[in-house]
C-alpha cells in the first residue's frame, strides 16, 4: 500500500490466473466478470428474440404454439432478470461508482463478490429449466396460469428470487458506498450524475426487490402447498398477484432506465465540452422518479377489474413520472445547446437514446391514459412502447457507455469507424423493428400470439427485417469490443477530455484506483 507502482501495473495484470479472478474482491474485476456473463446472456436473449421475429415473419405457424410461448418467455425472463436489470449497475456501476466518488473500493468488497456468485447461481438455475420442462408463463408469471401450467415455474421463480437477492446486495453496497466512502471534498453536490442515477437505482433495488422476493416465494408455495392466496377456489385472489408483482416490477422499470440516464448525462456533458445544465435538477429528478415509481403500479392493471377510482388515480400518478423525466430531457438538450459537440460513437448512442427514449416516454403517457389503454392493452403498441424504453433507452445507453468507458476499462482504443457502423445499424434497425409495431398495436394485433391474420403480414415482415438488422448491429458492436481488446492502440488517460475522476487516473486504473486519496475541490463538469 502507498508504494508508487511501476508504470504498467494495473488492475488487470496486478494478479494473474483464473483463480485470482474468481476470488477477486476488486470492484473493477467484479465489474468485468459481470460484463462477460451479462453479454453472454444478452446473446442468448437476443437469439430468442431473433426466433420470435422468425416465427412472426410470415402468417402461419413455423413453431408450434408451446414452443413459441417458451421462446417468448425465455426472451423476456433472460432480458429482464439477467441482462437489463443487472446490466448497467453491475457492470459499469461496479467499475466506476467507487472511482467516481474517489474511493478505493465499494463499502463491502467481499459482499460484492458474493453478489456475483449469487447472481450466477440464480442464472444457472434459470438456464437449467431449459433442460427440464422449460417454462411458458411469460416473464411476469401471472396467476392463475402460472399455478396450473405443468412447466418448471417453481425453479424459474426461485432463480428470479436468487437473482433478486444479488440485486439487493449490489444496491445495498452502492447505497452505503455513496454515503460513507466519498473522498474529502466530494460532497453529495459534487458526485457525478452517473453516481446519482445508480444511487437512486440502488434505493429502488433495496426497497422494491424484497416485495418481488416474497411474491415469488408465495407463488412457489402456491404451487407446492396450494396455500390459496392467489387461488379463488380457496378464497384467494389472482389479481393480488398482479398487485404484488407490479409493486416491484414497475419500480424495476426504473431500475432498468435510471442508470441509463446516468450514462447519458456523463456522455452528453463530455462530448458537448460544457458544464452540465441543471446538475441539481437532473440529480433530484432521479430521486423523484424513484419516489413516484412506487405509486404507479396499477397502470399495468387498468383492465384487471380494479376500481375505476384506482384506475384514475394511477393514471394521474403515472403521468407525474413524465415531469422529472422531461426535466432530464430538457436539461440534456440545454447542455448541448451552444456546446462544442463532437460526434464520436458514445455521443451518437447518447443522442440515439434521447430520440428513442422520447418516443418511448411519450407513448408511455399515452398508455397511462385509461381510455386509450383499454384499447391498447395487450397489443403490440405496449410491446413497441417498452422496447423503445428498454432497448432504445437502456441498451443504447449501455452500448454507448461501454464505448465511452472502454479506453478506461481496458487501456485500449476501439475502432471508431466500426463503432459508428454499429450505431447506424442498431438505430435504424431498431426503428424499423418497433415503429411498425405501434401501428400494428393500434390496428389491434394482440401481443404474445404465435400467429396472426394475414392483414398484419406486411408490417410484421418489415419488423422482422428490422430485428435482424439490430442483431447484426449488436454483433458488429461485439466485434468492436473484441477487436479493440486485441488491438495495440494504447488509450491515453483521458481520450475524451472529460472531467470526472476516473479520467484523472491512468488507463486502465491501478489496483487501488488512486495512489493518493484525491481531494476534490470542484464539481464533476467544470468545462467552461
Amino acid at each position: 500500500m502507498g508504494n508508487t507502482h511501476a508504470s504498467g501495473d494495473n488492475y488487470i495484470n496486478h494478479e494473474k490466473g483464473l483463480w485470482s479472478w474468481l476470488t477477486t474482491i476488486d470492484h473493477k474485476r467484479i465489474g468485468l466478470m459481470y460484463m462477460i456473463v451479462i453479454l453472454f446472456f444478452f446473446l442468448c436473449g437476443g437469439i430468442a428474440a431473433m426466433l420470435i421475429r422468425l416465427e412472426l415473419f410470415a402468417s402461419g405457424p413455423l413453431f408450434d404454439g408451446n414452443t413459441y410461448n417458451q421462446i417468448l418467455t425465455y426472451h423476456g425472463a433472460i432480458m429482464v432478470f439477467m441482462v437489463i436489470v443487472p446490466g448497467i449497475p453491475a457492470i459499469l456501476g461496479n467499475f466506476f461508482l467507487p472511482i467516481h466518488i474517489g474511493a478505493k473500493d465499494v463499502a463491502f468488497p467481499k459482499l460484492n463478490l458474493a453478489s456475483w456468485y449469487v447472481f450466477m447461481a440464480g442464472a444457472i438455475l434459470a438456464i437449467s429449466t431449459l433442460f427440464t420442462t422449460k417454462i411458458d408463463t411469460g416473464w411476469t408469471f401471472y396467476t392463475p396460469y402460472s399455478i396450473k401450467t405443468g412447466t418448471a415455474v417453481v425453479t424459474m421463480v426461485m432463480a428470479a428470487f436468487i437473482m433478486g437477492m444479488s440485486s439487493i446486495l449490489t444496491g445495498l453496497n452502492f447505497i452505503v458506498t455513496v454515503h460513507k466512502l466519498r473522498a474529502p471534498g466530494m460532497t453529495m453536490g459534487r458526485i457525478p450524475l452517473f453516481v446519482w442515477a445508480v444511487y437512486s437505482t440502488a434505493i429502488l433495488q433495496v426497497l422494491a426487490t424484497p416485495v418481488l422476493g416474497i411474491t415469488l416465494l408465495l407463488l412457489a408455495m402456491e404451487r407446492t402447498l396450494g396455500v390459496g392466496i392467489f387461488d379463488p377456489a380457496r378464497g384467494g385472489d389472482p389479481v393480488l398477484f398482479q398487485h404484488f408483482f407490479w409493486f416491484y416490477s414497475h419500480p424495476a422499470v426504473y431500475i432498468m432506465i435510471l442508470p441509463a440516464m446516468g450514462i447519458v448525462s456523463e456522455i452528453i456533458a463530455a462530448f458537448s465540452r460544457k458544464t452540465i445544465f441543471g446538475y441539481t435538477a437532473i440529480a433530484y429528478s432521479s430521486l423523484g422518479i424513484a419516489a413516484v415509481s412506487f405509486f404507479v403500479w396499477g397502470h399495468h392493471m387498468f383492465v384487471s377489474g380494479q376500481s375505476e377510482i384506482a384506475g384514475i388515480v394511477f393514471s394521474f400518478l403515472t403521468m407525474l413520472v413524465g415531469v422529472p423525466t422531461a426535466i432530464k430531457m430538457f436539461n440534456w438538450l440545454a447542455t448541448m445547446y451552444r456546446g462544442s459537440i463532437s460526434f464520436e460513437s458514445p455521443m451518437l448512442f447518447a443522442m440515439g437514446f434521447l430520440f428513442l427514449f422520447a418516443i418511448g416516454g411519450v407513448t408511455g403517457i399515452m398508455l397511462a391514459t385509461v381510455g386509450l389503454d383499454v384499447h391498447f392493452h395487450d397489443t403490440y403498441f405496449v410491446v413497441a412502447h417498452f422496447h423503445y424504453v428498454m432497448v432504445g433507452g437502456t441498451l443504447m445507453a449501455l452500448t454507448g457507455g461501454l464505448y465511452y468507458w472502454f479506453p478506461k476499462m481496458f487501456g485500449k482504443m476501439f475502432n471508431e469507424f466500426w463503432a459508428r457502423i454499429s450505431f447506424v445499424l442498431i438505430f435504424i434497425g431498431f426503428n424499423v423493428t418497433f415503429f411498425p409495431q405501434f401501428v400494428l398495436g393500434a390496428m389491434g394485433m394482440p401481443r404474445r400470439y404465435a400467429d396472426y391474420v394475414p392483414a398484419y403480414e406486411s408490417l410484421n415482415k418489415i419488423s422482422s427485417i428490422g430485428a435482424w438488422t439490430i442483431g447484426v448491429g449488436f454483433l458488429v458492436a461485439l466485434y468492436v469490443i473484441i477487436e479493440g481488446l486485441m488491438s495495440k492502440r494504447i488509450a491515453p488517460a483521458n481520450p475524451w477530455g472529460a472531467k470526472t475522476l476516473e479520467w484523472q487516473v491512468q488507463s486502465p486504473p491501478t489496483h487501488h484506483n488512486f495512489e493518493v486519496e484525491p481531494v476534490v475541490t470542484a464539481g464533476p463538469y467544470e468545462y467552461r
Partner: protein
Amino acid sequence: MSTVNQTAKGEHHYAHHFRDAMHEFLTSKEGIWVFMVTEILMFGGLFVGYFIFHALYPETFHEGASHLAWKMGALNTVVLIASSWTMALSIHYIQRGLNSKATMCLIITILCGFIFMIVKYFEYTSKIQHGLLPGKFFHYHEAVSQQLPLYFGFYFCMTGLHGIHVVLGMSLIGWVLYRHLKGEFNPHYFTAVEGVGIFWHIVDLIWIFLFPLLYLVG
C-alpha cells in the same frame, strides 16, 4: 486482495479502503440497517396479504386464531424478548471488556432461540395432527369457515419464514460466539456482534407483530 491494516497490538484492524476502524464500524452498521429494511419489506408483503384477507374474511381469522395456543405464543414472545436483552447485554459486556459475561449472554441467547424453536415444534406438531394445514393439505373436518385453509396458509408461511430467520440468527450468533471465544472482539472492535445483534432484534420485532396478528385477533 484486501490489505488489512494492523496496529502493533493487532487489535485494531480495518480493511484498506476505510480511513480508520470507526469508519469501518459505521459503514458496516449502515449496511446491516439497509439489509434490515429489505427484511422488513419482505415480511411486509405477507403482512399486506394478511390484512387484505383479514378484512375480507374476519370470521375465518377469528376461527383460525381460536385453534392456536396463545399461551405457547405468549411464552415464545417472552423468550424472544429475553433473548434480545441478553444479546444487547453481550455487546455491553464486550464494550467493557467483560468477556466471560459476554460469553454467557451469547450462550443464553442461543438457548432462548432453541426454546423458541422447541415450543414452535410442539405447536406445529399439534396443528399437523389435527390436519390444520395450509391449502390443499388441510383436512380438519370441523372447520366452520370455508377459508380456514387460507388462514393456515398464512400461519405457516409467516411463522415458517420467521422460523427460518430464527435458525439463521442462531447460527449467526453461534458464529459470533466462536469468534468471541477465539478472542477476536474487544472494546475497540465488535462490529460482527453489533450487526448480528441488530439482525436478531429485527427477527424478534417481527415476532412481536406476528404474535398478536395470528394468535390474538379473536
